[in-house]
Symmetry: C2
Subunit: 243 residues, 2 copies
């Protein structure tokens, strides 16, 4: 399975990560990207050999991925579950759910500091667009939402986010890489929407919040298309068939 020495996950984001984390991040990307097809049975030994590590970190990674629902740990072997349109919709269901909850809390809080932080991240996003850095853009996008969710100091909402984040991150990474190449002008719209988000938080305007949430989630179909393209691109790059 050493068809690609390339890594899908940005290696510089893993500077301090353990082997287990590296395996988890990379494996997750390959599954989300469709490089490893749904239904495939993964063996700990094979994975260990592929990644040139021992079974210990591999086991750790598999347990992590199982807790994210992208593989299932069965009697013999870990079965890849993959990410389809259904899963993506479900992920966004949950994001909508928790972000609505968070916004409700925010309306009872002082949000000036939060707004400042978000503005900074937004600036970063703009720079990433300008310099056509898809990965950086994805990173800041994720960070934007993470900061919002973290701001209410609710450990169990945070927990949900922590579980969701890796898959979201992978998905958005792939989506943005496609988008920066094929729908570059579309990124302005995303930036604009994040500005709306900030406004909603600043003014504590529930309607504005709903609006920006909806614009955000109407975008999901677009992201699903991106993922589909990404999966096709990648598989074309790897195996020279399927036209």
């Amino acid at each position: 399975m050493n068809n690609s020495t390339e890594f899908l996950y940005p290696q510089k984001w893993l500077s301090k990560a353990s082997s287990g984390d590296r395996v988890a991040y990379e494996l997750r990307m390959r599954i989300i990207a469709g490089l490893i097809e749904s239904g495939t049975t993964l063996s700990e030994n094979k994975l260990a050999a592929d990644f040139s590590v021992s079974r210990s970190p591999v086991r750790e990674a598999l347990r992590t991925l199982a807790s994210e629902n992208i593989i299932r740990l069965e009697r013999m072997g870990a079965v890849v579950a993959g990410i389809t349109e259904k899963e993506i919709e479900e992920i966004y269901d949950v994001r909508l759910m928790i972000e609505t909850f968070v916004f409700e809390r925010l309306t009872h809080m002082d949000t000036s500091e939060l707004v400042m932080e978000l503005s900074k991240v937004l600036e970063m996003m703009k720079v990433a667009v300008k310099y056509r850095d898809a990965d950086e853009f994805a990173y800041q996008d994720i960070l934007f939402h993470e900061i919002i969710i973290g701001s209410i100091g609710h450990s169990y909402i945070q927990l949900i986010w922590n579980n969701l984040k890796p898959v979201m991150e992978g998905f958005i990474l792939l989506s943005m890489r496609v988008r920066f190449q094929e729908n570059y002008e579309d990124l302005d719209r995303i930036v604009k929407n994040h500005e709306l988000y900030i406004d909603a938080i600043k003014t504590k305007d529930r309607d504005l919040m709903i609006q920006s949430l909806h614009e955000n989630f109407d975008d999901v179909q677009g992201k699903v298309d991106d993922l589909w393209r990404s999966q096709q691109m990648l598989s074309k790059g790897v195996k020279q068939q399927d036209d």
Copy 2:
């Protein structure tokens, strides 16, 4: 730390569990019950010795507990975070959130089969009350909500539940053990409320649902008191001090 050879988690529920799971379940109970105080640093080696297993299953257990926010994995050692009133309220925030979501879905579905299943579980709960089996009652209580949540077939809502369940289970177990001893007549109220739940699902009556949810969550304060009592009882039983 071998002050108690007694296990807090019902051993018969672990018939097919691995060592790692056993350690996780038992350790979780001891933390929730306050037998292991917040702030304590756990060492993998010590735990392995205490449970007479190797470090492998202990590591597994610690990672599990960390993903539930009841310990924090730091540079050196795992620091016990414990469960306070704040955490319990947060857990119920999340439960309220996902059960509301689930109910919304249910109003668009055929619920006849679900209602039947729930009725069965409710009967079981009544039997458990009759025979004063606190653990069995807790089990069926958890199962009741698990069945509801599972019925909509939403894998990421399920994922949230899977993360929440172990802590909830432990908490409810301890709470029910106290309640069966000190507030036996109160159990009727719980049973009644679950009947209300079923009615709400059967009639798809949103208001009834809200009502039963609220009655359920008003109960949280009571459960917190139970936990507090449970922690006192247990610590009194273990170390002969503190009056």
